[in-house]
């Protein structure tokens, strides 16, 4: 399947709300076609330079878009992650086994909610990683297309720059994902522990 098609399909199926945040692959492809079909190869070519500049400008615009969106989401994740941790602690403190007013039912209910939220957060973070990946792939592909069609050599240097862009450096999100995984393991264990103690009591 063609990348552009698959990109569209995937965005539609998973995150239709984010559609505008993804790479405008189709538009960029059209632009490349336009550039390559336009009167090409003017010597010294101010015309060529202009069109390449335009292409680069658009790409940079896209990258800015990615960066902004990515960092915004990242910030949200950091906040929610921290909030979840606090919630877990609070639930343990209020309704846990060693708390002031231990309540099995309440504890379970709260933990259930927290578990759901952890899984949701984890999933969203994975989706953001996917977002970053897809956009990078799209950029690499469109640059390759550009170089192929117009005989330029934009790709190498540009993609090197992209590698340093914040939207591509997903280390923090990755770390948060792993922490989420640890968190949910701990929460599941807690629950198992509680059930065990209850079983023993009975």
């Amino acid at each position: 399947m063609k990348f552009g098609k698959r990109l569209k399909q995937q965005v539609q199926e998973t995150l239709p709300d984010w559609r505008d945040k993804f790479l405008s692959y189709k538009e960029l492809k059209k632009l490349v076609r336009l550039i390559s079909s336009a009167p090409p190869f003017l010597n010294g070519s101010s015309e060529y330079g202009k069109s390449e500049a335009e292409f680069v400008r658009l790409l940079n615009c896209e990258i800015d878009k990615f960066n902004a969106f990515f960092m915004e989401q990242e910030e949200d994740f950091i906040i929610r992650h921290e909030a979840l941790k606090q919630r877990i602690q609070k639930v343990i403190d209020t309704w846990g086994a060693t708390a002031s007013q231990p309540s099995e039912a309440e504890y379970k209910e709260q933990m259930g909610k927290i578990r759901k939220d952890i899984v949701n957060l984890h999933g969203e973070m994975v989706l953001l990683e996917n977002y970053s990946n897809i956009n990078y792939t799209g950029l690499a592909k469109i640059l390759k297309k550009y170089d192929k069609r117009t005989g330029g050599l934009l790709r190498l240097a540009f993609i090197r720059k992209v590698l340093e862009e914040p939207f591509f450096i997903t280390d923090l999100v990755s770390k948060l994902v792993k922490q989420c995984e640890n968190m949910i393991d701990a929460v599941f264990q807690q629950r198992k522990k509680k059930r065990k103690t209850k079983g023993e009591k009975q």
Binding site: L31, N43, C61
Partner: protein
């Protein structure tokens, strides 16, 4: 495609996600990224042709679309002071604040990108940039009563020129000013924070005045003063912005710059920073009672502006409100829970198992994405490595060619034209002719040395691989490089 399995698995996983209210969460976070922002870039490719004239025309359009997003912050930017010039003054204050954060980011890549994109910038814009940059110097100097460490080369002329220059300087200030003055700007920012949105229209006009040349001065500044970048000390603060990238790329429209000027600078929060934030908020009595100003003062993080804190506080409050409200409602249901606890147990188990399964899927997705990302990095690294190897090999090979064909005297111009215009395939064919000419070329121009090595590279490729079309992108790139760059020079 290597990503295919990842995509297919993710689709099913994501569908489940969607059922669990992801969209709900997304909708809460999306308002923070209002639609005007979404419309900017996708609009541009559709509405613009390749020509520059169209670009100029559509820029104001994009400016306007950016403004609602910046509305809140713009309102804060402009106090009730009247007059266009004062607005400009205020606006130029905050951009500088924001740009303090851009320094490390810019310093890393400005050299590379500036050199890359310098060649692409149009000359008329450059001409204007030099003049406007001068004004920028003056205007910025007027803002800094004390000379900043990085700005020692700035003249102390305090005159403010006409609107044109003001608008240029406003945009230029963003790019040119380094960010030593963060602490001062915090005070400025404190004064500026109001709830008045009245001056958005002025900002519209301001943005409409900016032109391409605004980007040029910025870039010129970035290139000229790589050393004056004041590094951000805190490892926790990772200032990354679309605006710094706007400055690095001179061809960018002022929309990016205009966008960066009034809006909160795109700072990259880290968990450590957030922890400090939470601590400060708790010390001030909770998220509801804490004020951005207070939190900012308590956090004592350099480079952090009130805007950062404000937006972060807003997000923080939203994030905490939902879980708290759900907890409150659950307490009321405490009594009834015991009665139906047995039933809940079973469904609870099912839910938990479903969650566990979903978690497993997501974990695997995450792993695949990591692998994919590492692969992408490795591919680029490999490409770079191979290119280096080719260059080394060709450089050594050139000496051989030199000795072998010192007698050849073909006109270099003929082949250079052919190279420039021909597609890759024919280039490779003519490369053999070029290779013989490279010795003579290298004598004339130093960049030709690299060019010659590239020609040899091509020659080797033709003889060895015989598949020019299938060669890796970097190979094609290196072979085309002389055509586009060095040949034109030589």
């Amino acid at each position: 495609m290597e990503a295919r399995p990842a995509f297919s698995i993710q689709r099913s996983g994501a569908k489940q996600l969607g059922n669990l209210g992801v969209s709900g969460v997304l909708s809460s976070s999306l308002p923070l990224v209002p639609t005007p922002l979404e419309e900017t870039c996708p609009k541009l490719p559709g509405s613009q042709q390749v020509s520059m004239e169209r670009e100029l025309m559509t820029r104001p359009l994009v400016h306007a679309s950016h403004l609602p997003y910046n509305n809140e912050v713009v309102g804060h930017l402009f106090s009730s002071s009247a007059g266009f010039s004062t607005d400009l003054q205020y606006s130029s204050v905050t951009p500088r604040e924001k740009h303090s954060r851009n320094t490390p980011f810019i310093s890393q890549s400005s050299a590379n990108t500036a050199s890359l994109l310098m060649s692409q910038s149009s000359s008329p814009a450059l001409l204007q940039s030099t003049t406007s940059s001068h004004y920028i110097n003056e205007n910025s100097a007027s803002w800094c009563p004390e000379p900043l460490p990085g700005f020692l080369d700035f003249p102390t002329n305090t005159t403010i020129q006409n609107n044109q220059i003001e608008s240029n300087s406003c945009a230029g200030v963003m790019a040119s000013e380094e960010f030593g003055k963060r602490n001062d700007w915090q005070e400025w920012a404190d004064q500026l924070i109001t709830d008045d949105d009245a001056l958005t229209s002025n900002w519209n006009e301001l943005l409409a005045d900016t032109s391409i040349a605004d980007m040029e001065p910025k870039m010129a500044y970035q290139v000229s003063k790589p050393s004056s970048n004041i590094p951000v000390q805190h490892s926790q603060v990772h200032p990354q912005l679309p605006s710094p990238s706007a400055e690095i790329r001179p061809v960018l429209t002022p929309t990016s710059t205009a966008n960066s000027a009034p809006t909160k600078p795109r700072m990259r929060w880290t968990p450590e920073l957030h922890e400090a934030f939470v601590e400060a908020v708790n010390n001030l009595g909770g998220s509801e009672r804490a004020t951005p100003k207070g939190v900012l003062k308590l956090m004592k993080v350099e480079g952090l502006t009130i805007y950062h804190v404000k937006s972060h506080l807003q997000k923080y409050r939203t994030a905490r409100y939902r879980p708290e409200s759900s907890e409150g409602s659950s307490e009321k249901r405490l009594t009834s829970i015991d009665e139906i606890s047995s039933l809940d147990l079973k469904t609870g188990i099912e839910i938990t198992e479903a969650l566990q399964l979903q978690m497993e899927v997501q974990k695997r997705l995450h792993e695949q994405l990591e692998i994919q990302r590492n692969l992408q990095l490795r591919i680029e690294e490999q490409g770079r490595h191979l290119q280096m190897m080719f260059e080394k090999q060709c450089k050594s090979g050139i000496d051989v060619v030199k000795a072998a064909s010192s007698a050849l005297e073909n006109p270099s111009t003929l082949s250079s034209d052919a190279i420039q215009d021909a597609p890759a395939k024919t280039e490779l064919e003519t490369a053999q002719v070029d290779c013989s000419k490279t010795p003579t070329d290298t004598i004339f121009a130093s960049p030709a040395l690299e060019e010659g090595s590239q020609d040899l590279n091509r020659k080797h490729k033709v003889s060895q691989t015989e598949t020019p079309e299938n060669s890796e992108p970097y190979n094609t790139d290196s072979s085309l490089q002389p055509a586009k760059r060095s040949r034109a020079d030589a």
